[in-house]
């Protein structure tokens, strides 16, 4: 009997052609500015339409609304190469725009919502943000309190959101609100234009890393939006959010693997150039073996992540695999970032170095989009524990 075919090469010639273009774009047009954008605390708004024009915001979105309708492996190639911009902040901004705040509109939105919000977001003309977390509800999404009351044909929104990426500049939000009872059964999603009266960016949060990504606290004081801006069914929002988290967590795992990979590549090069005690530091066995461990474990994390991507790309349930991939990849990236920095000696501690920026930026990955602890919860529960 013939063995089953397991030669698993997800990337076709077209995926690779796309990958090469994104890499060159990231290295030539983005990376040279990574440091300046961090210092300025933001990247130029013009990058949204620039990404839109290159088709990077609508990779797996419906062509009817300006997307390319491609499979998830194009998103994987994109996220992997976006890391070469050497700006985690920019990566966050763009991935929120194309992969986190908008897929749910494509899935559930009415034609009006797709015309008003989705299409201009994919062109990069309107900036999108995903607003779920609140001051008193982060990991525990079911505890959100921002409320939307129905008054006639309108929804009246009051409350506060925090940690919202793209938040200070967003033209609209994919917003989680409480429309019903306490707990997960009373949550809805709405598309929320930020030019309505009563909406306010209360403050910009200064962070340890992702310095050029704007992260905001938002305040809603009796904001009126049309009730037809509900996304999908009323009070079904918790399920939509959990579904949306799958893509967000997967892209975090992909980013972690690619980010750690780039740090190792950089370290190998640095190890050939930098000398101590008369020899290149990369020739010390202590370091060669350390990096051998990192490369081996990273390869394991990569294939766990690809397995999760494969299930997700084929529309299979992948909660367990995606949670495992996010947990393993994002935590491993911390160890590799620590050693990559250590390997650079004093230079690793210098604010402007690539390795220091990566160390700052990668630190977010085990926190945002569901912490590592929450991933452990999901994995253990999926095993019936």
């Amino acid at each position: 009997m013939n063995p089953p075919v397991v030669a698993f090469e997800p990337f076709t010639e077209e995926h690779q052609a796309f990958r090469r273009v994104v890499r060159e774009f990231a290295e030539k047009e983005l990376a040279p500015h990574a440091r300046a954008w961090d210092e300025a605390g933001e990247f130029p708004r013009a990058l949204f339409p620039r990404f839109g024009e290159l088709g990077l915001l609508g990779i797996r979105h419906d062509p009817a609304w300006g997307g390319s309708g491609l499979d998830y492996w194009y998103v994987v190639a994109y996220a992997e190469e976006l890391v070469r911009s050497r700006s985690g902040g920019l990566g966050t901004g763009m991935l929120v725009q194309g992969e986190m705040a908008t897929p749910i509109i494509g899935e559930l939105g009415t034609d009006e919502q797709k015309r008003e919000f989705l299409a201009p977001a994919l062109r990069g003309e309107r900036i999108a943000a995903l607003a779920i977390s609140e001051p008193d509800a982060g990991s525990d999404v079911a505890a959100i309190r921002t409320r939307a009351r129905r008054v006639g044909a309108e929804l009246v929104v009051s409350g506060a959101k925090t940690w919202i990426s793209n938040g200070t500049r967003a033209d609209f939000l994919t917003l989680a609100v409480r429309t019903g009872e306490d707990g997960y059964g009373g949550i809805s999603l709405v598309t929320f234009p930020t030019d309505v009266a009563g909406f306010q960016v209360s403050r910009r949060i200064e962070k340890v890393g992702n310095l050029c990504s704007d992260t905001a606290q938002l305040f809603f004081d009796e904001c009126r939006i049309p009730a037809r801006f509900l996304l999908g069914e009323e009070n079904a929002g918790f399920g939509y959010i959990m579904t949306g988290f799958q893509g967000e967590r997967l892209v975090a795992a992909v980013t972690a693997v690619a980010g750690a990979q780039l740090l190792i590549e950089d370290a190998i090069q640095y190890g050939q150039e930098r000398k101590a005690f008369g020899r290149p530091i990369g020739t010390f066995q202590a370091w060669r073996h350390r990096f051998a461990d990192h490369m081996s474990r990273l390869e394991a994390a990569r294939w766990l992540t690809y397995r999760a991507c494969d299930l997700f790309a084929r529309g299979q349930v992948a909660l367990r695999e995606i949670s495992m991939a996010k947990l393993v990849a994002c935590d491993l990236a911390q160890e590799i970032a620590y050693d990559a920095m250590q390997f650079h000696g004093g230079m690793g501690y210098v604010l402007e170095s690539d390795v220091a920026r990566a160390w700052r930026d990668l630190r977010l990955l085990p926190i945002a989009g569901g912490t590592s602890e929450i991933m452990r919860e999901l994995v253990s529960r999926s095993a019936g524990m």
Binding site: E14, A17, V21, F25, G55
Partner: protein
């Protein structure tokens, strides 16, 4: 007046790759080397697209080499070229042979303009455009450049640096030469080779990459063209440039000046 433009896209080693010479000097170590379109050809493709966007017409991209050169043709199609021609040839080539093949393609396509990179970054020969012009008896404008900078407004708007005359019969080309720029008019059909500062090539968009899959590419076996494929120049040996020697520290400016003048003889 719409222009039919033939443009070249050679597959070369990616300049970002680490290039090592084989110990026996017969070639380079190809393991781990990435390939891409010759950067000067990218500039030629970009210029062709700008001319087409302004005047209409067609951009036909040609590559000569092994089957893998299809990747570079697709890259040019993804940028916006209309169709491709892959001339398949596995053996060694030299500028003389390449120009003979392009001569045949010219005969077949009858373009108004051929745009080429001024040289390819692998062998740095800088001869193909000149040979081709000579073979066809056409005017040539080499090292096309432009007066304004790569950050200028015209550049942002992707205006062509090569300017078509109002009567559509000639091109005005600013050439980069030692110590300055020379402006020439060349009558069409013409051969133009592109220099580094002519334009900043665009990145292909994702929709562009997907469209490129469906654009026609004609495959021609070089041997069927009836040209002599035997190179006139053979590479005898490759060797690495000498390793850079360590620098030296000087105490003060007068010492630096003395060394630059006396030893380095650059002043």
């Amino acid at each position: 007046m719409p222009l039919k433009i033939l443009v070249t896209a050679k597959r070369v080693e990616d300049p970002e790759s680490k290039i090592k010479v084989k110990p026996d000097g017969t070639g380079i170590v190809t393991d781990g080397v990435n390939y891409k379109m010759n950067p000067f050809d990218e500039i030629a493709v970009e210029e062709a697209l700008r001319l087409k966007e302004k005047h209409g017409g067609e951009v036909v991209v040609a590559s000569i080499g092994a089957d893998k050169s299809m990747t570079e043709i697709r890259a040019a199609l993804a940028m916006g070229a209309d169709r491709g021609i892959l001339v398949k040839h596995d053996g060694p080539l030299d500028p003389f042979v390449v120009s003979a093949i392009l001569d045949k393609l010219f005969e077949k396509e009858k373009p108004d303009l051929v745009l080429l990179g001024k040289q390819s970054i692998d062998d740095d020969q800088n001869q193909v455009g000149q040979y081709l012009a000579e073979r066809r008896g056409l005017g040539q404008a080499t090292f096309a450049s432009k007066t304004e900078s790569l950050e200028s407004e015209a550049e942002q708007k992707k205006q062509p640096g090569v300017v078509l005359a109002a009567d559509g019969k000639s091109l005005r080309v600013v050439r980069e030469v030692d110590g300055g720029l020379v402006t020439v008019d060349v009558s069409l059909p013409a051969i133009v080779t592109c220099d580094l500062r002519l334009n900043k090539p665009r990145f292909a968009s994702l929709p562009g990459i997907m469209k490129a899959k469906k654009k026609p590419v004609e495959e021609i076996v070089a041997a069927s063209l009836g040209v002599d494929l035997a190179p006139k120049v053979a590479v005898k040996k490759l060797s690495e440039p000498p390793k850079r020697q360590g620098g030296l520290k000087v105490a003060d400016v007068p010492e630096l000046y003395a060394k630059l003048k006396g030893e380095a003889k650059v002043l």
